[in-house]
Subunit: 477 residues, 2 copies
């Protein structure tokens, strides 16, 4: 049961109208992180709700309560729960997306107004939210519109969960998902999230893993106030000296984590697993182009890709409290805090890793024989996630990708985190698929964010085809 | 030939008038580092010039040209050269001081208006410049006033050099001193500078050494822009990792400099020299009270004082370009610059030390096998200075101190730098004495700067008595 040819034709025939509708959505500056735009996020929720209802989705706007941002109490924008189909003989697919966006101002360096969708002759649809995440959300609307317009049932039952706070920590969403696990979401068989990107600009991808994170702050304090290095140099224990010595014990210049037990927690990759990385359409040149310099840790593509996707990493971000300006200030800072984070992969979790980090830092600090004081704290953390790529949810997506794009998808893991993924996986206990619509160079949180026209239109076909393949494939239900 | 009792009595009798005059000087906010106060620095020069002429000094206001500050071209405030006495049978003493001050605003945390001299019942004369350096400069005026009022010749010929840019790098002064070495200053036999402080709050001091400095910036750059640590962690060489590893190789937690050849350049102290430090009226408790914490590198007072005064020190000041705010930003900074300085003691000079630092950092960086790029530069530097404490200039000051204060002075070296000291020593080739008027807790560049009444009045007596002892002592001329 592949997608009907009429569906694919409908998407092509209505491409311009879909792009125009994307323009309408982009024009609503639904910036969740800016209190002055909160009304726009609510407006965007109402816009999306209206469009969902127009294509036959039963919806519910969920009040998520209030929160404090920038010192003022604000109402959270509502989440939208949607439902279409109750056929017990069909699988039920839950789709997640978000309708809020990152901040953007023309003065940040945009070539055009970020909230006016600009259609470039080369096919780029440029505007804030075009790729993250309004394009994918509207992709689903496009699919639904075809079925609604033609009075055709969907091949699966669908549930929707759209939020307006993703760019600001998804406040309120975890509680909602947990609460509705046995309610609105009770018959869900699998989850599909389109909120990440292809590895490159050429090859569609399915993403089956995300790294977790623990963010550590190590503070060394000594004198009661900043001291003059002429007067106090070589008379007292200097907090910066201690802190830099500690930070130098965390990771070596080749990226190896030096905290005992961290790297060791992760099994080495089997030859089979290495073959997955070898197969990815990605090269050292791609990495270095993306970084803007020839600084890859290895000339071996598999090593570098595994470094990003399936091994932990430790990055030193900076020091709070030390001199950081231009020029030459001769201060001995009184209290300095080193910031670093460790990206985690299974079986690592913050709960397993943090005690090792803290014990190691305290032991290394003790070796310094310093009279200063060390405190170590985790500022925040999240667990990693890896999904079974042989599940029918992924198999359906592979077939659909091949059907629409004529090529097999890259099977990728992301080095970063999308916390809501883990929330769905843990709360619902079903397989979660990340099915990206956009390309690796979309610039999601950057200036001139774009979604390519072909990614929007072919991506819409992919979403629809995926539903048909889900329906067709052997599996639960 | 001790100071005449009439002189000492005159100073006591006129103490209140002297303090009132200090109030007049403090009331002129001669902040050299603030372009909006440049006219006040000029006004202060004119005020001082008038007062010098009123007590018989022949003066010359020297135009030092222009400079650029905060992007605008400004006229430098004039320096004042002064001359009194041409008696070939007398020694000639050159006095240096400065009439500009550090910035100060009540809102910085002052208890009273910083430019209104506040006379505290406990004797503190509180106001910006009271101790640094208007009090000492006016001390000389007080001495001159006695002799002028009584028609008495001074026991020595005097030359004066007062500047208005000391707090802003003494721009123009080096050239002036070099130019006048064989002109205005040609018969100078010794120099006296009152622009530093006692080691403690109890014991007068003579200062015979200053550390030099070299300020180093080591920059590691890699990617073309800041990178996301989720996407790039463990795929590329991170500049922060490299820089922290380099910075950790510079100094250990006990203050020992790890760059080969730096500490080794300095001879160990002889037992005789250690006895000087042992004799200083200073304790570990004084150091720790001053630092506000029990963090002295050693429980041995001599070791700690030598660490400040006669050994080099290396302090890590901070990192430019890394994350330095509050919170938890997961950035891989593209370009980071570590800042550190080394305080130098003879025979160290920036010219001798910088090549060792650069070669060592480059060698250590090579060991990292990083594909990032390192550049090392010295931002500025200055040579150390140590004077012969057995010279008649110091002997006269010792006798004078004993006469006025009833105790022997501490013989101190400062851990910091007063660059003009070296300028006079090198340009004139004569002995330079640092003869502090204020106490160690005067807070020269801080809030509530003060000079104690007794330090101002007894300090004035000391300056006069010093001139009489200079005249009396055996020595050149």
């Amino acid at each position: 049961m592949p997608a009907p040819p009429e569906f694919l034709q409908f998407i092509d025939d209505n491409a311009n109208a879909f792009i125009q509708r994307l323009g309408e959505a982009v024009a609503i500056p639904s910036i969740s992180g800016d209190a002055t735009h909160r009304a726009d996020v609510v407006k965007m929720a109402e816009w999306l709700n209206t469009h969902l209802q127009a294509v036959g989705v039963t919806t519910q706007l969920v009040d998520l309560g209030k929160h404090v941002m920038d010192g003022q109490e604000l109402s959270l924008p509502p989440a939208i729960l949607g439902k279409i189909g109750e056929d017990k003989s069909k699988k039920t697919v839950l789709v997640y997306g978000h309708f809020d966006v990152q901040p953007a101002e023309k003065s940040d360096g945009w070539d055009t107004d970020p909230f006016t969708l600009s259609i470039h002759p080369d096919g780029r649809l440029i505007g804030r939210g075009s790729s993250d995440d309004k394009g994918p959300v509207l992709g689903w609307l496009n699919v639904l519109q075809y079925h609604h317009a033609h009075g055709l049932p969907l091949p699966v039952n669908m549930r929707f969960c759209f939020e307006g706070m993703e760019e600001s920590g998804s406040e309120g969403l975890d509680d909602l998902v947990r609460k509705e696990a046995k309610g609105w979401f009770k018959d869900v068989d699998c989850v599909c999230i389109s909120d990440n990107y292809w590895l490159n600009t050429r090859t569609p991808a399915l993403t089956y893993g995300l790294r977790g994170l623990t963010y550590i702050k190590a503070t060394v304090s000594g004198p009661a106030r900043d001291l003059h290095s002429g007067v106090f140099g070589r008379t007292v224990h200097e907090p910066m000296t201690d802190l830099v010595l500690l930070m130098s014990k965390l990771v070596d210049a080749q990226g190896k984590i030096l905290i005992p037990g961290i790297d060791e927690m992760v099994d080495a990759a089997s030859e089979d697993e290495k073959a997955i990385y070898e197969a990815l359409d990605y090269s050292i040149a791609d990495i270095e182009q993306s970084a803007g310099a020839s600084i890859a840790l290895s000339a071996n593509k598999v090593d570098v890709l595994m470094g990003r996707m399936r091994y932990p990493s430790l990055s030193l971000h900076g020091i709070e409290g030390a001199f950081h300006g231009a020029g030459a200030k001769t201060v001995i800072p009184a209290k300095v805090a080193g910031k670093f984070s460790i990206r985690l992969v299974p079986p690592q979790t913050p709960a397993l890793v943090d005690p090792l980090v803290i014990a190691y830092l305290e032991a290394e600090f003790a070796k310094l024989n310093s009279k200063n004081t060390l405190t170590v704290e985790s500022l925040h953390g999240g667990k990693p996630w890896v999904e079974d790529v042989n599940h029918w949810n992924y198999e359906a997506a592979k077939v659909a990708t091949k059907a629409v794009y004529g090529q097999d998808p890259d099977l990728t893991r992301e080095g970063g985190s999308i916390p809501v993924t883990l929330t769905f996986a843990e709360s619902l206990g079903v397989n979660v698929l990340l099915l990206p619509m956009g390309r690796g160079d979309d610039g999601a949180h950057s200036t001139n964010e774009k979604l390519d026209r072909s990614n929007f239109i072919q991506g819409t076909k992919l979403l629809g085809t995926y539903l048909y393949e889900i329906a067709a494939i052997e599996g639960k239900k």
